[in-house]
């Protein structure tokens, strides 16, 4: 049996992308037109490199159509206070309903992001409103990352993600 490939993301990356970071998701249709939406949280399933991104179905309608069609996604995570940025890509992404405990994950993300932005001068009311959605509107986008990049601004942006970066 061949050895398992080294995981694309380590524990520090998992903590980072589940933290108080801005998240945006891209997909594209068959003609090459991209779709884009701001996400409202991320969860990484333990022991399995399965990444789940939470989206508003209304806001992401076009993007979800692309994902259902071809399954290709790109997700960028960025920490406003440090500009540390990571991008994950995956194929075969699926659109799913929320599982138990996932709505709590979305709410916890929103409050953590409001707290992260407050010292930077962002109005908490505005940030909370920006990320407010009805529970029934939230869908889960699940995928196994096949590519991972560091995208922190600078000449090294776009380099494959290394442990600890």
């Amino acid at each position: 049996m061949p050895p398992a490939p080294a995981p694309l993301i380590d524990a520090s990356h998992v903590a980072f992308i589940q933290g108080a970071v801005g998240i945006s998701v891209a997909a594209c249709d068959r003609s090459g037109k991209p779709a884009l939406v701001r996400a409202i949280g991320c969860h990484v399933t333990e022991d399995r490199p399965l990444v789940t991104i939470y989206l508003s179905a209304i806001q992401a309608a076009q993007l979800l159509g692309c994902v259902r069609d071809n399954g290709a996604v790109a997700v960028v995570f960025s920490e406003p206070s440090t500009h540390r940025t990571v991008q994950l890509k995956g194929a075969g992404a699926i659109v799913d309903g929320l599982l138990e405990g996932e709505w709590e994950c979305v709410q916890a993300y929103r409050e953590a992001f409001v707290r992260e932005l407050a010292p930077l001068g962002f109005d908490p009311v505005m940030v909370r409103t920006l990320l407010s959605h009805r529970q029934a509107d939230i869908v889960a986008l699940r995928f196994v990352p096949s590519e991972a990049y560091s995208q922190t601004p600078g000449p090294q942006a776009g380099a494959p993600l290394k442990a600890g970066t």
Binding site: S24, G32, Q59, A74, V76, V125, M126, V127, P153
Partner: protein, 445 residues
């Protein structure tokens, strides 16, 4: 109704960075943060090209992209379907973005990292308002159009250039709430701008100079494009360090002929707007603030419009002054004055003039002053006209484009500020009087 780009342009320079989605020809999406989005017109934007990254690689193969922007006050989100058209690597758009990017870079601690390689120009095909909750943005503190109209009316009633310049700066403070302002005029032969009026600073700095192409003011003048910086700090390479120019001074004597440029020590927002008349550069209107993000796109529009009126009015008043009386009013010859003699020294190579070894002025204004003093000393004349100065070959005034009236204002202000025993008083349109309170000793250096 379709949203036009100009209606949401405050989102383009939002403190919440925008994102861009692209796709490779193989259908692999990519998403990245943007450092700079520049409004061009209601159908075009430009993005900064800093590194050859995946976004750019995708765009070169597939020009379709999507941009996500957020209004920083309301939280309203917009998605823009855009198409890459071309990259500009020089010219006004590039210069303006380069200056802005340096400001963004220093603000975000990326000073050594961000360097503009090009301005990528995109057509905006569609703007979609993303469904979602928003908050009510705070009401505007004042109405810029009303301020512009009131300022326009006040400028219209100015009958001479000095009044026009002072009134422009007074309007900026009283109607626009902009406290720190200055106007610089362009000296084409030396390719320098000299301060002719300022407001809000401890020292007026009238007579201070900045080379074309240097700093926010010099670049705005060189590229004939407004430059607006929302985050500025000391390490910023566009800071208006005038001392640099002292080391390039080419005259031999060691006396200090540099007047410090006025300016805020802790300037955070800056806006430099070229002042032109009939496509010719007259100078630059410059404003600054100790606060970040003080000047918006709307402020820029208002000041560009105000500068257009300032340019046209300045040109009209200049022409009117030149078309003034042919001969000076008949006046008795200068009456002799008593007291300690004042030594006036003139250096022909650069027109610089010193009063008892204190630097006063140089360049064309210095040559004008010397000519007036010679006329006073040789012929006891005190009454002069702009018209005769323009015809005087000793002054070597380049042509009509040389702003004689502005130079007389500069000279007059310098004499007043120095508390010199010599003054210049306006006596009518295109006419003025030289007032001398002490005996003069004229020396060619």
């Amino acid at each position: 109704m379709k949203t036009k780009l100009d209606a949401i342009r405050e989102c383009l320079e939002s403190v919440i960075p925008g994102t861009i989605a692209t796709a490779s020809p193989q259908g692999v999406p990519n998403v990245a943060y943007l450092s700079q989005v520049q409004f061009i017109d209601s159908e075009h934007i430009a993005l900064s090209y800093q590194f050859f990254n995946k976004t750019r690689q995708n765009l070169m193969a597939n020009p379709h992209a999507m941009l996500s922007l957020i209004n920083p006050l309301s939280g309203a989100q917009y998605r823009l379907s855009i198409e890459y058209l071309r990259t500009e690597i020089a010219g006004p758009l590039f210069a303006s973005m380069k200056a802005k990017l340096a400001g963004i870079a220093s603000h975000t601690g990326m000073g050594g990292v961000f360097r503009l390689l090009g301005a990528d120009v995109f057509r905006v095909h569609d703007i979609e308002r993303v469904p979602g909750e928003t908050v009510q943005p705070p009401p505007a503190q004042h109405n810029l159009l009303a301020a512009l109209r009131a300022a326009s009316e006040r400028l219209r009633s100015c009958c001479d250039l000095e009044r026009l310049l002072a009134e422009t700066l007074a309007c900026l403070e009283q109607l626009f709430g902009i406290r720190y302002t200055m106007i610089l005029m362009f000296d084409a032969p030396s390719e320098r701008l000299y301060t002719v009026a300022s407001r809000g600073y401890e020292a007026s700095g009238v007579g201070s100079e900045i080379p074309l192409g240097h700093g926010v003011i010099g670049v705005a003048a060189q590229e004939r494009t407004p430059i607006r910086i929302s985050h500025m700090n000391a390490e910023y390479s566009y800071s208006r360090a005038i001392r640099e120019s002292a080391s390039r001074s080419d005259w031999a004597h060691a006396l200090d002929t540099e007047i410090p440029l006025p300016g805020l020590r802790e300037s955070r927002s800056q806006l430099a707007v070229p002042v032109t008349a009939a496509e010719r550069l007259l100078g630059v209107l410059y404003v600054e603030s100790p606060h970040d993000l003080r000047f918006t796109y709307d402020d820029e529009d208002a000041l560009v419009t105000l500068a257009a009126q300032l340019g046209m009015a300045a040109q009209l008043l200049q022409n009117a002054a030149d078309a003034g009386e042919d001969a000076p009013a008949v006046q008795p010859a200068a009456t002799p004055v008593g007291g300690m003699p004042l030594t006036v020294r003139h250096y022909r190579e650069n027109g610089s003039v010193f009063l008892d070894d204190d630097y006063l002025i140089k360049g064309v204004a210095g040559s004008i002053f010397w000519t007036l003093l010679r006329e006073y000393a040789d012929k006891s004349r005190t009454e002069f006209t702009n018209r005769e100065l323009r015809l005087d070959s000793r002054l070597r005034l380049p042509d009509i484009s040389d702003n004689l009236e502005a130079r007389l204002i500069l000279l007059s202000r310098r004499l007043t500020e120095r508390g010199a025993a010599i003054r210049i008083e306006k006596t009518g349109r295109g006419r003025f009087r030289l007032c001398v309170d002490r005996p003069l000793q004229l020396r060619e250096g």
